[in-house]
Amino acid sequence: MVEPPPSQVQPDLAALYVRHREVLWRVAQSRLPKHLSHRTEDVIQDVFAKLLEKPPTQLINNWESYLVTLVRRHAITVCRKERDDRHGELPAEDGAAFAVGDGLAERAEAQVVGQALSRVEPRRRHVLERVVIADRPAKEVAAEMGISEGRISVLKKEGLQQLKSELEQQTGVAS
């Protein structure tokens, strides 16, 4: 059997999925609002079901970027459908909200986020780990730390600002 040269081989979707699934799930989750997080699986499954049905005909140079774009777009479609169902159709420019930070989620794999988070000032990191990652109530974390809920909000905001800056430095995304 004559094998095509590696540069002309279309990789198996399953192999691509194993390699990129962490970042794809993260991108989908980060694009969906909290109340739609249960749709993450649907977003990724839809993308791959369509790829199975209609694989790209051209050679893809950067599969991660290609898959991330598909997942991001589909997540936005799911969001828009939900938004339209909830609020009625809104003007097209409303989609601007989704453009903010483009490029950040795509490059911020789990490891990168973890590294960036480790450089956040300890008190702010403590708040981010408990309130954002563990999704614990701010009131509970405030009581544990002996500070007000308002102070938790401020530490969280400062932590997010510092994390954003760290991520931008790490991933080369301009602020």
């Binding site: 192999a15 999925y17 194993v18 980060s30 599969w63 909200a97 950040l104």
Partner: protein, 209 residues
Amino acid sequence: MSSAEDLAVLVDALVNDPWMPRPESVSEVEWAEAQSLAEVEKLLGAQGAPALEHDPVAAMLGLRPVPALVLDGPAMKRLRGKLSVSEVANRLQAYGWEVSAADVRSWQNSSAAVALAPALMERIAAVLGSTVEAITRETGSMVDPAIASDPRWESIVERLAAVLRVAWAQAEIRLAGAMTAAAYRHEAPDSFLEAADAYVTRLERSREA
């Protein structure tokens, strides 16, 4: 907007509802800042992919091994012919699989039953110019014989084959892999078939989404 606390409240609101309109009291600069912080918060809160054995997309793509279907090492070695283990590994790598020559050697020499992902076994078979049937052996039934002989099973597998664009036999392996989840293991045939039907229906909808 008057304080850092207000900004934090706005970020929380945006995380929950990215379509909320900009409040009049918030400037465009503050709005952009809140949106980008909401994005960072969602990124940080994202959990990543589930474990492979609980990942439904992995099951759809044929990444969930079927315990009863294992590689036949000697058959693989025979079918490899003049191809070296490195060449086999290189060809698998070209299709995106992270496989080393040592992996290939271990599969063909292992005395233990090696159950690989069906999608990988399909590619190995293709690389060797052979079929999955020729490089594998069944150590038991992939599914309960009562289910396998039910005409509904045949029809469900046929629908899955159409969705995945694979042969019926490959689709059966994929479906058996998807249905190895603990939730289905002890189901009675009727419930198992209903679950398999629901699984395939969902994939059909995904394709149309």
